[in-house]
Amino acid sequence: MVAIDRIFLHERTGAAALGSLKAAGRAVADPARVFCVMDHIVDTRPGRGDQTLMPGGQAFITETRAAAHEAGLTLFDVTDPDQGIVHVVSPELGIVLPGLTLIAPDSHTCTQGALGALAWGIGSSEAEHAMATGTLRIARPHTMCVRFTGTLSVGVTPKDMILALIARHGAGGGKGHAVEFAGDAVTALDMEARMTLCNMATEFSAMTGMIAPDETTYAWLKGRRYAPQGEDWTRAVAHWRTLPSDAGATYDAEIVIDAADIEPMVGWGTSPEQSVGISGAVPVDAGERALAYMGLQARQPVAGIPIDAAFIGSCTNGRLSDLRRAAALLQGRSIAPGVKALCVPGSSAVKRAAEAEGLDRMFMAAGFEWRESGCSMCFYAGGESFPAGARVVSSTNRNFEGRQGPGIRTHIASPEMVAASAIAGMIADPRELAR
């Protein structure tokens, strides 16, 4: 049994969990430590309210709101300045901290392991269990260390690191392990980059991903709203310094990757493991089904595949630094004719910060739409999608069949590659633009 320190809910499943808890006559034991966001199906078009393009979606919003209020939870509502995608908002506000256990009925909760927390995704029943009892009953996970040694080449991002890992070791490669990302190339990353890396631990079938907290972590957290203050801060940091794995610690499994070997990656298929470097091609032995769905052929080079749409956003790559790097490539350029492109900031705070530095104008000048924050077209709930059958380069984390809408072909990549591809009208290497 593990004590649970923080719980997040969202409007896609929050009402079901809270409703079922109430129906069983149970209360939320410690509502002050349960937070709820509106992110998954909220509209992202300007001037939004509770109405959403998903048929029946409004009920998810209003019922979750009512249930959250009734249970006394902290709610970041649709028009709240703190609204945003759960895994962007929680670190931003300092709700997740090193050494905490944090859960949410969302598989990308592992993102928050970037701060040295044990953070993982659960189902609704487990969320109910944690809310009612303050605990979860879990089997101790096996441990794995993924060590990225050396230095990343210029123009290569944490998105490329995680895609390279999954491409080499398979979408099942993490086998339910708690994965620690370590090595020089990891400690060199800033906090937002670390979140991108941990975000896709679930695509590796890991229970969670985490990175040892260090000075980068403490400096980033200091002063955030829910982070400890004053005397508590000093005590907390002293405690956090005891958390990292001992030098020479052993793990149930270890993987070492030379960061210098990684080039910008892009997905070609319908599983994140079906990804290759930008200089590569669709593999010779690519499965028929994935090829048919994606409309590609074996041996076809990935660079140059024509695209219909481009998406920048999500809990993987929707933070301020992601938007900055994409905007820098878009500056003074336009997206190719016929390409639908949009940028959806990961949180309302990211949106405000981006607007304060003029990133919104850079995106729009290049031909991108600029949206309110939310999960948006990272996934399809029956509402908004791309044109039927469109081929989309996307800074998101999943390329499953139908993930972004029926028949939509998703190529996952870094925000830089999405920007470069939007400009070229085809999958393109962002390093060529940067030169």
Binding site: M1, A3, D5, T13, A15, A16, G19, A24, R26, A27, V28, A29, D30, A32, R33, M54, G56, F60, L97, G99, L100, P105, D106, S107, G121, I122, G123, S125, E126, E128, H129, A132, T133, G134, T135, R137, I138, A139, A171, G172, K175, G176, T202, E203, S205, M207, A227, R235, A236, H239, S271, R289, F379, A381, G382, R398, F400, E401, G402, P406
Partner: protein, 205 residues
């Protein structure tokens, strides 16, 4: 939750690796905020001819008459990967699936199964190929942790002790945990002294 001990049934083979929960139940099929009314949306993108439609695709395994009564699924490795949506398991349970046999499972999906009376039974891919080739009824026996065929071929599978106990007895995990209420309160009191920043106010529950 209905207890599970032993089940003999036809097993429908869906032998693809990385079958994700978006495939098991597309997000657009999660139409209400509750846990029911999901069986129709199970495998919707594969089961029906058109997205959002309800005309069965005769090529899909569950639409074939022989598998109409399948209560077991045979899957590929990393079964249930992707979104944590428990709706995938609610949809399977409502449709009538009580066990999934696959070489490996995504961890969140396996946890969701055991909380909803579905046995996730991991057996090697070679065994799954034999079971699929046999095509006859399959027995999933939880007490002995085996999957077997009528001719006696049998394979053991692993399942955590707690998950097994919950499935066998149909126990509610929350009730089980409440038996330790005093221990939990004592832990929280001590933890609050050690890590005061973790707590924001009084715990009422």
């Amino acid at each position: 939750m209905t207890p599970f001990t032993r089940l003999t049934a036809i097993a429908a083979p869906l032998l693809r690796d990385n079958i994700d929960t978006d495939a098991i139940i597309p997000s657009r099929e999660m139409k209400s905020t509750g846990k029911t009314g999901l069986a129709d949306g199970l495998f919707a993108a594969w089961r029906y001819l058109k997205a959002g439609g309800r005309d069965p695709d005769p090529a899909f395994i569950l639409n074939q008459p022989y598998y109409a009564d399948a209560h077991i699924l045979l899957g590929g490795s990393n079964f249930g990967c992707g979104s944590s949506r428990e709706h995938a398991v609610w949809a399977l349970a409502e449709y009538g699936i009580s066990a999934v046999i696959a070489p490996s499972f995504a961890p969140i999906f396996a946890g969701n199964c055991t909380r909803n009376g579905i046995v996730p039974a991991p057996v090697p891919a070679t065994a799954i190929a034999e079971i699929a080739a046999d095509g006859g009824p399959v027995t999933v026996d939880l007490p002995s942790q085996t999957v077997s065929l009528a001719d006696g071929r049998s394979w053991p599978f692993e399942i955590g002790g707690e998950a097994k106990a919950m499935l066998l007895e149909g126990l509610d995990a929350i009730d089980l945990t409440f038996k330790h209420k005093a221990d939990i309160a004592a832990f929280q009191a001590a933890d609050r002294m050690a890590r005061p920043w973790v707590y924001f106010g009084d715990i009422i529950g």
